[in-house]
Symmetry: C2
Subunit: 461 residues, 2 copies
């Protein structure tokens, strides 16, 4: 392919030539686990206020009945179901993270494709292939623009996965190459989301907005609204607006084509999965303390104080010293460690007003401090959140723990048992253990599912 | 008001305190003329492919019947009617331009407010006030970010009028101040549109997308989706993402509040209206040649050649030397002048395939040249498109014309007769002269209209 082929045309060629049977097994297996993780977290997420609010909004604006809304018995139009299901998956901030975007891929692309797949009676294999296609397009294009796009202030989930959703939908619907390129170009004009709206329902809404916008870019293009296939790298295009004009020029003059699928981002860079339902900045500390407690069972009354040394990102992310609500508790290393010390686990069950406000937990949190560690500060704003922990016992004994990387990162991947345990714990209060295990089994065999409704039917409850 | 009040809270205070009776008369009269101009151009625009395509798209996605779609007999949900009517107003690139945004205000804000006003049985006065409110908020905030936002590559119509529409809707619905600020903050996360998609249906679609997004920001907020009222000037906020972090810091540290309504942008800086249905870069040349022809009727066969000296923006905007289609002809100074010489006018009637492809026009265009003039180049990328024209007659006689500013700009405003003539000429093929004159009269008396349906009923045809 000539390197002067516009990148969206290159992406459209990639989409047109994809075949499930030619995908590496590690790619399809990794994708299934990301889908498993998404479906797991979207189940409790579907009961969160943001999902309830979007459901109420969409009920008034509904125009179809073909797509399942997770955790509801009412079907909706695909674009509305995608909106709600995407926000549900991000509502607890418990979903996967791509290191290519520092954003959340599966909670946008998968629910959008699931809705379309249900409408078009697709197989599990078709659904899985489209999801993998959209991921890959979004991430190879994000690679050209990161970290600038994130540094500029964008919510990368909002800006890259509108494109990823459009690409996935083009693949699922098997559009002609020219039309796929135009769908993706229109998606570029529909990408938004600013990070200053974080800490509110707008954050998970951005995931839903992006899923809906990606599907709308496709339906609008199919209705005849055209656009420019060079809108990615051209002057005044997506790269210039969201990253910089310097980057846009470099990309426009690249001597080699974009290598979609070689290697595959999902296995090459991989995704981080969350073991705990709180800000990922807590995770290395949570791993370290739970591992230590496991080996050294210690009564709380033996602990005088705990100090956590964190990197520069610590005080930016973990902003709640004495949280009073579940939302605040997710951004509190004090709550995370108090919870670990008290319950020996950090799961959805502990994020309740009752537990957070209990005098015992509030008192315990006051003995836990956090501060930037000078050594870790030298690493800059490192997203992996390395931590050093000093535990001082009442006896005067001091214990030192450290952890550079949380379990669930690509370098320390979840085992299948861990994926399963997270999934079952997410489902726990909403469906029976038997239902959850059946769903789990079907997702692991997604490529064997002849009709995607076999999956979606299990999500209406 | 303390200057540390977030700007969206300042805007919300402004909206809450507005009263029609306290508006200066020149503001309300100017707003009526902008609305007249919008309704005029949206009437033929409603028959353009982009409006037809969006209508077909929205028909499948419709969920209400309260809002008029201009030029159609079917009513739709307000958000869908706003989408189509906004794109209709911009479809011919014949609508007003704000010098505060270099974008198109009325075609986004007015149709959105018209749809809501119809749903809520509002008066003409309420509709007019809400439109004025939204304009003012969008333009005072754009003032903080221009020209950077435009230079970065954004379609300013898409990014500033999502906010303007949300502000106008908050005023119309008389929301509490806190809720208005949140609606506007969510609108900031829904703003998009890149200029590299220009020259396609995406451009008028951006106007529609923006109108719909502004209304959705309001309905989503009313459904409980919250956001951050400091999302405009805060770190990673709207100003940082769409302009620059330097500007965001300056705005955050401003020593004085934003002066909404003092003075009013619509009368202080004013809007440019288009006399001809083509790119505004043609307009000074069109004015000059028509004025000269009027005073010096000249047979075409007497003209050997015409050369237009333009500023640096000329070759960027007027890219079609020998157009073959109406869309191309709108970006051709050759067609504009050939049309003027042949027909003595440049109206919608001349933008037909038949006229553009006629051997006579094609031959005449080949005698007309355009080039950057060294003196005009020194003015930079000046949006007013100054021109120098050299007409060489077959006799050898040379005539020199120049024009620095088109008629319809704030400094050379349309007379009421010109507003009326443009309106009637826009309506000409679609409604009767009698109907057009009644509509015109009612728009001039918009503040006296007791039910906005008196206007909208005239737009269903």
């Amino acid at each position: 392919m000539a390197t002067n082929t516009p990148i969206l045309n290159q992406a459209a060629n990639f989409l047109a030539n994809l075949e499930y049977e030619k995908l590496p097994v590690d790619v399809t297996e990794s994708a299934k686990r990301a889908i498993l993780d998404y479906i797991g977290v979207s189940i409790p997420g579907s009961q969160q206020p943001v999902a309830q609010n979007l459901f109420a909004w969409a009920e008034k604006r509904n125009w179809g009945k073909t797509a399942t809304v997770i955790g509801r018995k009412i079907k909706m139009a695909p674009e509305n179901a995608a909106l709600i299901n995407a926000a549900s998956g991000h509502a607890l901030d418990f979903d996967d993270t791509s290191w290519s975007t520092i954003g959340h891929p599966t909670t946008v692309i998968f629910p959008a494709i699931l809705s379309l797949a249900e409408e078009y009676n697709c197989t599990g294999k078709q659904t899985l292939l489209a999801y993998i296609a959209g991921l890959e397009v979004a991430h190879k294009i994000a690679d050209l623009m990161m970290p600038e796009a994130s540094e500029n202030g964008w919510h990368t989930t909002g800006i890259f996965y509108t494109l990823g959703t459009a690409a996935a939908a083009c693949q699922l619907l098997q559009l002609a190459k020219e039309q796929s390129a135009l769908c993706m170009a229109l998606a570029l004009s529909k990408s938004s989301g600013i990070r200053s709206n974080f800490g509110t329902q707008a954050k998970p809404y951005h995931a839903g907005m992006s899923a809906k916008a990606g599907l709308e870019a496709v339906s609008l293009t199919l209705s005849g609204i055209n656009s420019s296939p060079t809108a990615l790298e051209d002057e005044d295009g997506f790269i210039q607006c969201y990253a910089s004009s310097e980057l846009a020029k470099i990309v426009k003059n690249m001597a080699k084509p974009v290598l979609f699928g070689s290697p595959w981002d999902i296995t090459h860079r991989g995704y981080a999965f969350k073991k705990y339902p709180n800000c990922s900045g807590n995770h290395p500390a949570c791993d370290a303390i739970l591992e230590w407690l496991n080996k050294n069972p210690t009564p709380i009354e033996d602990i005088a104080s705990i100090h956590c040394g964190v990197s520069l990102l610590g005080p930016k992310e973990l902003v709640c010293d004495q949280p009073k609500t579940p939302t605040e508790a997710r951004f509190s290393i004090q709550f995370s460690l108090a919870c670990a010390l008290t319950y020996g686990k950090i799961t959805l069950s502990e994020f309740t007003d009752e537990i957070i406000l209990s005098p015992h937990i509030q008192e315990l949190m006051s003995r836990i401090t956090m501060g930037v560690d000078q050594d870790l500060a030298r690493l800059g704003f490192i997203g992996t959140a390395p931590v050093k922990i000093w535990i001082t016992k009442v006896s005067g004994e001091e214990i030192y723990l450290e952890n550079n990387l949380a379990h669930g990162n690509p370098e320390k991947p979840f085992s299948d048992n861990e994926f399963n345990a997270k999934f079952l714990s997410c489902c726990h209060e909403l469906i029976t253990r038997e239902q959850a295990e059946l769903l789990l089994k079907d997702i692991y065999q997604l490529d064997k599912v002849k009709d995607i409704k076999k999956i979606t039917n299990q999500l209406c409850f």
